[in-house]
Symmetry: C2
Subunit: 214 residues, 2 copies
């Protein structure tokens, strides 16, 4: 079973690594980081380089596709190599997934039309423009399309999908292996729970957040 | 404020990226991935390459040090370039931190003697051999030494430390920015909570887990 994680410049690292360090641990899964060119791809903050091992041409029929988000998403919203590749491989996937604003790339490729989906909370309002129905859930399944909310939600998505693919015991084994027993020091992880001024500040600066400045 | 994240072959990706995608978002923090050699470093699963931008010689006085864990830790438990570098930069850090079995590297360097510390739950029993006192907490502060439990706990550590460094509002803003409102599909993230057979299986295969096979 091949897991393809798409990279592009200015992606958000945790968007890719959450699904990676859960789904890649499912027995039988072989993972490839794929991009327009091989070699390191720089993240949104500019200080991290993650290596793509294969070009788009070399990955033609992955079983699982993960599209991470990040401000670099903006460069791939119109027709081009990534959009074409996503549509082509989607014809072969068992699961087509995204984290954060990665869902906007899937939506722009026409794959989420008429489907329930999610994205980073600051980007949810962009989904209807592509015919998708935004939901407030953290991980949304609609057929083979699985979208996750902002950044860290990719861990929850990865574990949920691991359970669907390989059963609860495998997913629980992965969860215990990565000791995923979250204990955030604050309860500020959603716009409803965060202090009003924190939510307001990010809403006001949403362009900066989605552009990778926060 | 310089954040140095140490890389070595066969590290666990999420161990490094959890602290990275929280602490690197603190205003004024400049992050560098540092290793014995520059260039891509391969993780425990072998399918990921993360780039080190600087050699040990080039990073002499970071304010924050993060040592991730992973099966490659075993190769750095005796005196050698990493141990020497860690001891040297620790003389300058404001915070010396680890995730997962990264604490065993710090402990082997003699930095956790007489200190409370944690590690991956399967590695906790190795801490007393280095004079450290293992605790069941997910994130442990003892003076400037901050150790986190297995893999995913680095996110909780990063947010907690972000709060100490820059205040609660900054940390909450980062938490909301990465939408860290965890909703694991199972409650199996600690040996006490996971189904008994899952915990037993990982305990039996603990060598495999710590060697990166799980």
């Amino acid at each position: 079973m091949q897991l393809a994680i798409l990279l592009y410049d200015r992606f958000t690292a945790l968007d890719a690594i959450g699904p990676y360090d859960t789904l890649s641990r499912v027995p039988g899964v072989e993972t490839v980081f794929v991009a327009e060119r091989t070699g390191p791809h720089r993240n949104d903050l500019g200080s991290l380089g993650l290596v793509a091992e294969a070009t788009l041409d070399e990955v033609t029929a992955p079983d699982i596709l993960v599209v991470p988000g990040g401000p670099g998403q903006l460069a791939h919203m119109t027709d081009g190599p990534l959009q074409e590749w996503i549509r082509a491989v989607d014809a072969h996937t068992t699961w087509t997934t995204s984290v954060c604003t990665g869902s906007l790339i899937l939506a722009a490729a026409g794959l989420l039309k008429g489907r329930r989906a999610t994205s980073h909370w600051l980007a949810l309002d962009q989904l209807p423009g592509f015919g998708a129905e935004p939901t407030g859930e953290r991980v949304v399944f609609d057929g083979k399309y699985v979208t996750a909310a902002g950044v860290s939600s990719g861990i929850d998505m990865g574990l949920t999908l691991a359970g669907r693919i390989a059963g609860d015991t495998v997913a629980q084994t992965i969860q215990l292996g990565i000791e995923y027993d979250p204990q955030p020091p604050y309860d500020a992880g959603s716009p409803e729970k965060a202090p009003a001024e924190v939510t307001a500040k990010l809403r006001q600066g949403s362009r900066d957040v989605l552009m990778g400045e926060a």
